[in-house]
Every structure is written in structure tokens, then in C-alpha cells.
């Protein structure tokens, strides 16, 4: 498995290179530059040109690209064109907020999604199934932005249970969790809907399989049949979906970050696009791509834990 993991890590390098190259050139095609954004409306054409020179944007694009790749190979992501601060520092500061949110949302999704999926599958075409299906449809259809505002209104303003402001103090676990709950719940509800639907359909397929019938005919306890024989097999497609959604949550939680004023990577990316901060944007996308790869790898490795028949060489 170690060999397999190393091989996968080597394979990811060309993919990462393709992604960053694509982003590098694409962002530079979009109208508007960082110098205009940084200097604001007071800027004269001369001062814009001067700042572009300072930023190194006056050099040919291939020279800029070469420097970017060279720095990247040395582990240097560069400095923000707008704030001139090292991007690695900004990412290190923002990443925990985004990871907390993505992991928190996924944990809630798994905790509620899997049991709901099992119950709705076992009670197929009965009231719990109808209720579960309707609720999951609502969860899938509800825009993240609207759900966040709704939860904020009910749980924070009306019931005064949670804060609405900021991501809390990273060095203080209590504060971190207290500020995380509402945004994680927002994403968690949506994840619950997706996961429960996935588990339900997988369970329905598995419950029809011969080995489940055999297990029952052997007189095994229903709990053992469900949890040991059926659920374990139904989890394989679910794990795939969870892996994909984890990647989506990392990059797609930007609206939740904005609503709850969390200083995460999604917010950093939006600000970088707005200000044409090429360096910041490239760096954030590299980080997101790396996480997509990591989650895919973890997903693949999890298969062998769930299903011992799967082996990696």
C-alpha cells in the first residue's frame, strides 16, 4: 500500500502542474490588473505603470511563468501583490478555518446522513422514508446562503444560542467550536441530505443481494445482517461520494465563510479574484488541488479498509 501511495503522489505532480499553468494564464487574460485594484481610483497611468514594474508584471508573461515555476519548485509561493505579505503565511492562517468548516460539515453530514439513509432504506415506502426523502430533497434544494441566514436568524438571533461573528480564537478550542457550530451545521445539513440519499439507494441495492438473504436465512440477528453484511458493502459508493464532497466543501464553502465572517481560504480566493492578486489566487488553487488529491487518495485507501477484497499494489 505504501508503494501505491508513493506512486499516486508522483502521478499527482503533472496534474498539479497542469492546473497551476491553466490558472496562471487564465487569470492574466481577464481584464483588470492588480495595480489598478491596489492604487484605487486616484491612480495616474504613470503610477499604475510604476507599480506594475514593482510587481514584476511588466516582464514578458513567459518570464513571469518561469519565475513562478522556479519559486514553486523551491516551495516559495510568493508574496501577495496587494498586501506584499508572504502567501504561505496567509494560507497558514486561513487554512484552519476552512478545514474546520469542511471537516465539521462532513462530520455532521456523516453522523446524520448515514443513519437517516439506513432508516429510510429499511422503512422503504413507509412514513419514515417519505419524511426522510422530503427532508433530503429540501436539504439538497436549499441554497447554502439562504440556509445559513435562516439558521443564523433562528439559532443566533431568536434563541441567542450561538455567535454570528467571526471564526473564533484558533488557540482556544472552546471558542473555535462555539464559532464553528452554526456554519458547520449549515454545510452539515446539506451534506446530510446528499449522504442520506446515497446511503439509502446503496442500501436498497445491497439489501436485495443474495448474501444478505443468505445471512438472514442463517438466522443471524437483523442488526448483524444490516450493520455487518449490508451497510459495509453499501458504504463503498458512499465513501466515494464523501471523498468528492469533501473536496467540494473545501473550495465551495466560500458563501458560508462570507455569511459567518470566517477568514478562510474561500474568502481569500474571492478577494484574490476581485483584486486580481495573481499570486494569491494561484497559491490558493494549488492548495485546493492538493487537498482534492489528498481526499481522493484517502478515499481510495479507505476502500481497502471497508472491503478487505480490495488490495493495492
Amino acid at each position: 500500500m505504501l508503494k501505491y501511495t508513493i506512486r499516486r503522489m508522483i502521478y499527482v505532480l503533472p496534474t498539479l502542474w497542469a492546473v497551476v499553468t491553466f490558472v496562471f494564464f487564465l487569470i492574466r487574460i481577464v481584464p483588470g490588473g492588480p495595480a489598478v485594484a491596489a492604487l484605487g481610483s486616484y491612480a495616474t497611468a504613470e503610477s499604475i505603470q510604476q507599480l506594475e514594474k514593482q510587481m514584476g508584471l511588466d516582464k514578458p508573461i513567459l518570464v513571469q511563468y518561469g519565475k513562478f515555476l522556479k519559486d514553486l519548485c523551491q516551495g516559495d509561493l510568493g508574496k501577495s501583490l496587494i498586501t506584499n505579505k508572504p502567501i504561505s503565511q496567509e494560507i497558514a492562517r486561513s487554512l484552519p478555518y476552512t478545514l474546520d468548516l469542511a471537516i465539521g460539515g462532513m462530520i455532521i453530514g456523516i453522523l446524520f446522513g448515514i443513519p437517516t439513509g439506513i432508516i429510510t432504506a429499511l422503512r422503504r415506502n413507509r412514513p419514515p422514508d417519505y419524511i426522510g426523502r422530503v427532508l433530503s430533497l429540501v436539504g439538497i434544494s436549499m441554497p447554502e446562503f439562504y440556509l445559513g441566514i435562516l439558521l443564523m436568524y433562528v439559532l443566533a438571533i431568536k434563541l441567542q444560542l450561538f455567535p454570528v461573528l467571526g471564526g473564533g480564537d484558533l488557540s482556544h478550542l472552546g471558542s473555535r467550536l462555539y464559532h464553528l457550530f452554526l456554519p458547520a451545521l449549515t454545510l452539515g445539513i446539506i451534506m446530510t441530505a446528499f449522504i442520506s440519499r446515497m446511503v439509502r439507494s446503496s442500501m436498497l441495492n445491497v439489501l436485495r443481494e443474495d448474501y444478505v438473504r443468505t445471512a438472514r436465512s442463517k438466522g443471524l440477528h437483523e442488526k448483524v445482517v444490516i450493520y455487518k453484511h449490508a451497510l459495509r458493502n453499501a458504504l463503498i459508493p458512499t465513501v466515494t461520494v464523501i471523498g468528492i464532497y469533501m473536496s467540494i466543501l473545501m473550495g465551495g464553502s466560500v458563501l458560508t465563510e462570507i455569511i459567518f465572517s470566517r477568514p478562510g481560504l474561500g474568502k481569500m480566493m474571492v478577494f484574490a479574484v476581485k483584486d486580481r492578486d495573481y499570486i494569491a489566487l494561484q497559491s490558493v488553487i494549488i492548495i485546493f488541488s492538493a487537498f482534492v488529491f489528498l481526499f481522493n487518495l484517502i478515499t481510495d485507501l479507505l476502500y481497502s479498509l471497508i472491503d478487505p477484497r480490495i488490495e493495492y499494489h
Binding site: V30, P31, G32, G33, V36, A37, A38, L39, G40, S41, Y42, A43, T44, A45, E46, S47, Q50, I82, T83, N84, K85, E90, R93, S94, I149, M152, Y153, A156, I157, Q160, P163, V164, L165, G166, G167, I258, I259, F260, S261, R262, P263, G264, K267, M268, V270, F271, K274, D275, R276
Partner: protein, 520 residues
């Protein structure tokens, strides 16, 4: 060790008393939290801060040689700040400032002296270290006479010397020692003399400033100020309703004002100078090169309807291209009343009896997009079909500087004298596409002599006359159409005492001053 039950009770009593003693200490901390419509700051170095959120964070930390009164930006009422008094030569070129003694910089950076003033002004005037160097083009030299006296010499007279030395843009005084010591880090770890000093900056979240205990006007009443970056209007409103925010930046819309007024314990602050909305006609592009077309558009736009749409509480009429409350503002200019029939007649005279088609780009920002959509509808009624492509704000700024638009709606606030607006928008050297370009989108170049004469004029009355004449010429030729001014809108808890009556401010957000307080 065995503890008796009395011992346990005693221990609990001690803990309880400890909590009782500590809690009020926390409760007594005076903190004001303000939520602003922004994603992040760009710089806390006052000579680089160009956005409203930058101003909001910078202003409590710095002072100028002179300052606007906290409640008002009338340039004729500028008062001493770091300087106690000043003298000027007869020709207005040499100014001597006598500094306050004992003014302390934050965090042990020592006393503010003439060396810091010289360093700060030279930094502000240098393109490599300031975003506002253009404002100091006339600065010749700054001489240190003694520890508390500086002499500032100008190459030529400028409209408002005190204006460029106020607590605004390049006028802020920084600590020489801190800038030299921190280098580039000064942008996010600034040292000033203001009532509050930087405690913490969390990117994309907030700036926290704490009381400067040695502030020269006395100890600030608040312990801490938190400035939160919250681009989403709903989130700002929710945080305010929940009580986690004390002052919130609003939407410049009637609906928002009405809704927030209904929250108990809320005061709405609507203040100036506001941002001017002016439609600039590109006189080099066909058919805008024909004055009849420009005048037709002016007559086709119903400004009263536009103001009603934007919100009567948050807008006021802009009669000329310079607002009336700016030094040099006038209402004695040609006016274009709303008259669609006259507009159609002018279009026909210009060879467009069936109307015409125009296309332009507009930013996604609602401050621009909403009024422009209303104008688009009004122009349609007289047969002018205006196609608009909505693009990002950064791209918009780039595109309008490339002359792509036949007409440009520009929303801005400037230093409240006529010169900056006239120079940036109607001076030949500011024409877009030239090396010295700023924001002259109309390519108007017929008032250079008036702008230059007014700059050199020492007699304020004559200066105002020159500016008034310049404005009349701009409107006579319909180079631009002044529409309205949108005021800034904030809501605050009534227990926040600003310490002054909010009327207008160049920071464009409610300034937190040493007198600002919060009642429990």
C-alpha cells in the same frame, strides 16, 4: 489529605468571590465593534490606504499637523492637531508649523518631533512610498528648524495647503523610527500618534485597536475598537440585530434605512460628504462629439425620479459637478431640466430622429449599476437604446481608462475643495489614455487656464469665482451631467456616544475618536 466539608464550602466561596471580582473587570471593558462592507484591508500605512475600510482602520491611529473637526469637513474650519499653530508667508509658499510638545507615538516609539514630520511629508510626496504623491507635486522642501518647528516650502501656490496636511491621505504623520525599522512590515504594523493603536490584524476578519494611553488629547474613553470586514449585507444586519455589533455600515437604500429604524435602540446616521454621481460624456467618440446629443441625454434623464428610486433619505441633488458643500461649489451653472420632448427634438436635429444605439460597460457594484439601470430605462423612453455589459469592478476601472465607453458613470468622494475634482476630471493632463491620465473621461480640455489660475489665487473670493466659471463652462458644453449625491448610511446602538454630532467625514465611515464612548 482530607478536606472537611467546611473546607469545601470555604473553597467554593473563595472561587465564587473570585468570579464575582473578576467578572466586573471584564464587564467594565468598553468595546465598540463596527461592521464594515469590505472583504479586507489593503494597507494600514496611511500613505497607501486607498479604500474606505483602510480609512476606517487608519484614522483612529494617526493624526495630521492639522485636522478637520470630527463632525465636519468644512476646509474653512480646519483646526490644529499635531501642530499648535502656524504661520504663512505673504505669497503662500512658505509655511511654518509649531508642533505640540510631548506627543507620544504608540508602543514606545518616542516623542513626535519635526524630524517625523519632515520624514512623513517627504514619504507622502514620493511615488515609491506613497499612493498620494500626486497631491504633493508642488512640495519643494521640508526643513527642520528645531525639534518642534518645521518649515514647508512649495514650488508654487496650491489651492489648500492645510488640506494636504490634514488627517487624510498623505497628511498623516508616521513614526520615522518605526518606518525605517519595520520597512515593508509597516504596512500592517503601523505606528502613529492617534487615540488608538493596532493590537491585532486578522486577514479577512478584523482589525483590533486598543487605547493609546499616552494620547495627547487625554485618555480615550474606549478600551478597544474592533473593525470587522463583512461584505455581506445580511450578515452585517444579523450581527447587529444579535447585539454582537454596535455600529453597522448600511446599504444606501431607502428600504434599509426604514427597516433598521424599526429596531429598538437604534439611531440611523446619514452623513456626508457623500459620493457624487456624475455622468461623463466621451466627447471624442461619435455621436458624443455632438453637443446636441449630449444635451439630449441631459434632458432625457429625470434626476428626481432617479433620486426617488435610490431613496430620498440617502440622496441629495447635485447641481454642479462640484457639490455645494465643497469649497468652490456653486449652483450658478447652466441646468438641464427634465424635458423628454426637447431631448427627442435635439436627437432629431443631430440626425437621429428615430433614436440611437449606444453600448457601454458598467461595474457589478450596485452603487453604479442600480442608478445606471434607471438611466438606461429613462433613455429608452426617448429612443436611446443603451446596451450595458456588466463586468467586475476592477475590470470596469481598467476598461473606462481605455476609453471604451461613450458615457461613464463615476461615483466618488474627494477632498472637499473644487480643485481635486476639476483637476482629476476636467484637466487636459488627466485625460484617459495619456501618460499623466487620471479620470478625465470626457476629454474636456477647455478650463486648464481657470484651474491653474485658481490654484495660484490667494484671495478665496476670486478663487471661488474662477472655479464657478470653470463649472459653468463644463455644463455649458455638457461635458458631464451632475446627477446626485448619495450619502453614507450607518446604524448605531443609541448607547454608543460618538462624542460629536455626525455630519460629514472624509473617512467615509463613522470615525471613532477619543471622545467616543459606550454606555452599558
Amino acid at each position: 489529605m482530607k478536606i472537611s466539608k467546611y473546607g469545601v464550602f470555604f473553597l467554593l466561596a473563595v472561587i465564587f468571590m473570585g468570579i464575582c471580582l473578576i467578572s466586573p473587570a471584564f464587564a467594565q471593558e468598553k468595546v465598540v465593534k463596527m461592521a464594515l462592507k469590505a472583504s479586507d484591508i489593503r494597507s494600514l500605512d496611511p500613505h497607501y490606504g486607498t479604500t474606505t475600510i483602510d480609512y476606517a482602520c487608519i484614522d483612529p491611529m494617526f493624526n495630521g499637523l492639522v485636522r478637520f473637526k470630527p463632525e465636519d469637513i468644512n476646509p474653512e474650519k480646519i483646526e490644529p492637531d499635531l501642530a499648535e499653530r502656524w504661520e504663512r508667508s505673504k505669497d503662500g509658499l512658505v509655511w511654518t508649523f509649531y508642533l505640540r510638545k510631548g506627543v507620544k507615538f504608540h508602543k514606545g516609539y518616542g516623542e513626535m518631533t519635526a524630524e517625523d514630520v519632515k520624514f512623513s511629508l517627504e514619504k507622502a510626496a514620493n511615488k515609491a512610498t506613497s499612493g498620494f504623491a500626486g497631491d504633493y507635486a508642488a512640495l519643494d522642501k521640508v526643513d527642520v528648524i528645531d525639534k518642534y518647528t518645521v518649515r514647508i516650502t512649495f514650488k508654487s501656490a496650491i489651492p489648500s495647503v492645510l488640506g494636504i496636511l490634514t488627517n487624510y491621505h498623505g497628511g498623516y504623520i508616521v513614526s520615522k523610527k518605526a518606518v525605517l525599522e519595520k520597512g515593508d512590515k509597516f504596512k500592517f504594523d503601523p505606528i502613529g500618534t492617534g487615540p488608538f493603536m493596532l493590537k491585532e490584524y486578522i486577514p479577512k476578519e478584523k482589525v483590533v485597536e486598543v487605547r493609546h494611553p499616552e494620547f495627547f488629547r487625554g485618555k480615550p474613553k474606549l478600551d478597544r475598537v474592533e473593525l470587522w470586514f463583512m461584505p455581506d449585507a445580511s450578515s452585517r444586519e444579523m450581527a447587529y440585530r444579535k447585539g454582537e455589533i454596535d455600529i453597522v455600515e448600511g446599504e444606501r437604500e431607502q428600504v434599509w434605512v426604514k427597516k433598521m429604524r424599526e429596531i429598538p435602540g437604534t439611531a440611523i446616521e446619514i452623513f456626508g460628504p457623500g459620493e457624487t454621481l456624475v455622468l461623463h460624456f466621451n466627447m471624442t467618440k461619435k455621436p458624443m462629439d455632438d453637443v446636441r446629443i449630449r444635451r439630449a441625454i441631459c434632458h432625457a434623464i429625470n434626476i428626481d425620479e432617479l433620486m426617488k428610486f435610490l431613496g430620498p433619505d440617502v440622496t441629495t441633488r447635485l447641481v454642479s459637478v462640484i457639490p455645494m458643500d465643497y469649497l468652490g461649489g456653486t449652483d450658478k451653472v447652466p441646468k438641464y431640466e427634465f424635458n423628454p420632448e426637447k431631448a427627442k427634438k435635439l436627437l432629431a436635429e443631430a440626425g437621429f430622429p428615430k433614436g440611437l444605439e449606444l453600448s457601454m460597460v458598467i461595474t457589478e457594484m450596485s452603487d453604479y449599476r442600480r442608478p445606471m439601470e434607471q438611466i438606461q430605462e429613462q433613455l429608452r423612453r426617448v429612443g436611446i437604446n443603451l446596451k450595458m455589459d456588466v463586468i467586475t469592478h476592477t475590470a470596469f476601472h481598467e476598461q473606462i481608462r481605455k476609453d471604451v465607453n461613450p458615457l461613464v458613470l463615476y461615483v466618488c468622494a474627494r477632498f472637499p475643495t473644487a480643485d481635486p475634482l476639476l483637476t482629476q476630471f476636467y484637466y487636459s493632463k488627466s485625460i484617459v489614455g495619456t501618460p499623466t491620465a487620471i479620470t478625465n473621461f470626457s476629454h474636456y480640455n477647455k478650463i486648464d487656464d481657470l484651474i491653474e489660475k485658481a490654484r495660484l489665487e490667494i484671495d478665496t473670493k476670486k478663487q471661488k469665482e474662477l472655479w464657478a466659471e470653470a463649472q459653468s463652462k463644463i455644463l455649458e458644453e455638457a461635458a458631464a451631467l451632475p446627477l446626485c449625491i448619495t450619502k453614507f448610511v450607518f446604524a448605531r446602538k443609541v448607547n454608543v456616544d460618538l462624542g460629536y454630532e455626525m455630519r460629514s467625514t472624509l473617512t467615509l465611515v463613522i470615525p471613532i475618536k477619543e471622545a467616543t464612548d459606550i454606555r452599558k
